[in-house]
Symmetry: C2
């Protein structure tokens, strides 16, 4: 469970299955601090704070689960969209903790807002009084355990003391490491774009990967930009772009009680404020935001528990996007497909099975299946070009692409996933034995 930060920084390795990490530097108006509240009974960082000294516009999307964590309830109750800080803790999901879990967040928000108000007085020309309901929370970890309010509260002053107004790649990596649970690698991504003449940065971190108690791996994603965009537009941009990014990944088809993806804009880039989703000036921003979200989402899928391979399932030419999505997820969630890929078995029979069970009407005679560039099924028959040895060779890759052309429409959907290995069972079954 413990993550050896020393090793990560010293190994010199910044590789994941998806290639090198990008170096994140500074986004105007965003400060980061991290500390250990000893939640894991060791010194790893388990509290990560993002502080917006001038405040930030904000939008979030949350888990669709009918059972949600206390912090998501807290976040949903915030009336004003202006946020001054985001506090994330690991080790405890604050789920099934009832009124005490919620009260804990209130206590921490009061402490944090008081400390930040003091800091405003010290550092700012026009100090703001920061209110508890300007604090947003992210929680991830065990379900049903008492929320460690006191342990966290005791460390708030230190978090505030550590705030620096210029960030660098080390503090971003520490933040990405600090929100990890069973993740093996931190997840960071960035893009730059323009809104009008203003140069805009979009930075993001995330953690995975579809699991909860006792192995604690809610999906969390946090995006930070210096662009000047209203929270209303942020919400629309996030909703629109989440569908084909964070909502297009699956590890095991399970959903956490704590999933959240948030975006914060500090507005310091001083572009003319975007208040309308149809404003043509956000075209580039929209593309760059999608790219950051997709990059992070893929990293979450690639680091799914026990994963040995990163899988892309691309379904083309369905009648509706909904149909394409159903077929893609039916394949990506199938334990039989996922175990076959783990075994490097070019098992198109299981892909066929998963297409068949997806409850989407297909025309077998128009079906095309490729694994990478290798044509396997064409017009509903085994392709004449199919060579099993070539396919076997392909299955040895770390990235596997399944390409399904239904040939009956024009809509498509792409899903990102990982394989199912013995390691997955080990992590999730043998953990306490």
């Amino acid at each position: 469970m413990a993550i050896n930060f020393g090793n990560f920084f010293n190994s010199g390795s910044k590789k994941s299955k998806l290639g090198d990490f990008q170096d994140l530097e500074h986004v105007d108006g965003v400060s980061i601090s991290t500390t250990s509240a000893n939640l894991y009974n060791n010194e790893r960082d388990d509290l990560v704070m993002f502080y917006f000294r001038k405040g930030a516009e904000h939008a979030s999307v949350y888990t669709q689960s009918k059972i949600i964590s206390e912090n998501i309830k807290w976040n949903l109750n915030l009336k004003n969209k202006k946020i001054n800080a985001l506090l994330i803790n690991t080790r405890n999901a604050n789920v099934f903790t009832g009124k005490k879990g919620y009260q804990g967040l209130k206590d921490i928000a009061e402490e944090l807002s008081a400390r930040l108000s003091e800091k405003q007085k010290k550092d700012e020309e026009k100090p703001a009084k920061i209110k508890p309901n300007e604090i947003l929370f992210g929680c991830t970890g065990t379900i049903g355990e008492k929320f460690p309010t006191e342990k966290i509260k005791k460390n708030i002053s230190e978090l505030v003391d550590k705030i620096k107004y210029t960030q660098n790649k080390y503090i971003w990596t520490k933040a990405a490491l600090g929100i990890m649970t069973t993740d093996l690698v931190p997840k960071l991504a960035m893009e730059e774009c323009k809104i009008g003449n203003a140069n805009i940065k979009i930075y993001g971190i995330a953690k995975g990967s579809g699991m909860i108690f006792p192995n604690m791996a809610t999906t969390l994603g946090f995006i930070f930009t210096d662009a000047n965009i209203s929270s209303n537009v942020l919400q629309k941009l996030l909703r629109k772009n989440i569908e084909t990014t964070f909502n297009a990944i699956t590890c095991d088809g399970d959903t956490s009680t704590n999933d959240m993806v948030s975006i914060f804009s500090t507005g310091i880039a001083k572009n003319h404020k975007i208040k309308n989703i149809n404003d043509l000036k956000i075209k580039d921003f929209n593309i760059a935001l999608h790219s950051v979200l997709l990059n992070l989402a893929k990293r979450v899928a690639a680091d799914g528990e026990g994963a040995s391979k990163f899988i892309t399932v691309c379904v083309k030419n369905a009648k509706t996007q909904e149909d394409a999505k159903k077929v893609a997820f039916s394949i990506a969630n199938s334990p039989l497909v996922k175990t076959a890929i783990a075994g490097e078995d070019c098992n198109f029979g299981r892909v066929l099975m998963a297409i068949g069970k997806s409850d989407v009407n297909i025309n077998l005679n128009k079906l095309l299946i490729k694994f990478g560039d290798i044509k396997i099924v064409e017009k509903g028959q085994l392709s004449n070009l199919y060579n099993e040895d070539e396919a076997k060779e392909y299955m040895k890759n770390e990235k596997i692409e399944l390409y399904i052309d239904l040939g009956i429409g024009q809509k498509s959907f792409e899903v990102y996933s990982m394989d199912f290995t013995k390691k997955y069972i080990e992590i999730n079954a043998d953990y306490r034995t």
Copy 2:
């Protein structure tokens, strides 16, 4: 892959996780013969024939997959409901075999009906001419491989020569073994009941368990009775009873292209023929049929690939049966719940997660969760009586019962499943390496 029949018969062990096998003897009008067509390149039985010398009324339910095997297409095309024989082959699913796969069945049906017609002439006072479209097929095995028409055809005479008119427990067990693929134990069940004054037998065999190529484990179930019931009523009885039996089991949420459950009634018991589903005289038969189907379905779930534990998920007091079913399957199909149970971890957090993601509206304050008799969650809170040591002890059992009371309605649904072990991954990933 090869099943050692000798071992099974000699071991003296007739135990499965669900207890002893029942001994099936004779059902009037049903003859069984089995042989090896060398489909596995060894001598295990791979062809099983049920012959109805006086014909049988028949009804079937088939896979809901949009991609179906050639034998299911054949069966759906049969116009008349009177059946004279059922032929089941293993090793080849006859899926994705196109026109040749279908033509193969036609060739075999012609050969078999000709041989059976000859036998009728020899043995019967009023010999019937048996037609190819009075033959039903069950296929299970690899998808996308050439269907071995010639190998099967060559063995038809032997199957017909071997027919005996009195059956015993050995031939029933041979039949149940002969239709197995990756199953570890044969699955047999029986009940006796009355229709009016007539004594009725209901016998059945089945195989599991949710998997296909290359591990070949379609679900097949075949029920045989001497009752005199019209095919129309059989169809209604089967549809009604399948919902809470074969449609209430899940191994990995995957669906085969070949699933089928059929019932055959020879009518020799001479009860007054049942032609109406509302006839009160079939009340007992209905109960006994449900019992046979449930018994077989549970055996299929208990023998799911790699299973170490048999899991019952009972959801009570939902608003609708559909809701209860959704919650039950969400739990039973969750890889996280299944791996936790494999690890003997009393992980109610994952059960909560699975309830939450089922998309059913619940009232957390009314939720009750028990593992066996151990109360864990009550009124949405961890029960005061909850003792983790006691729960850990319970998780060592081979049969695990998860009991979820939603407390917001009166409808319930029960689902049967197995755990997810490293063995599952081994069977499905490492098979060819």
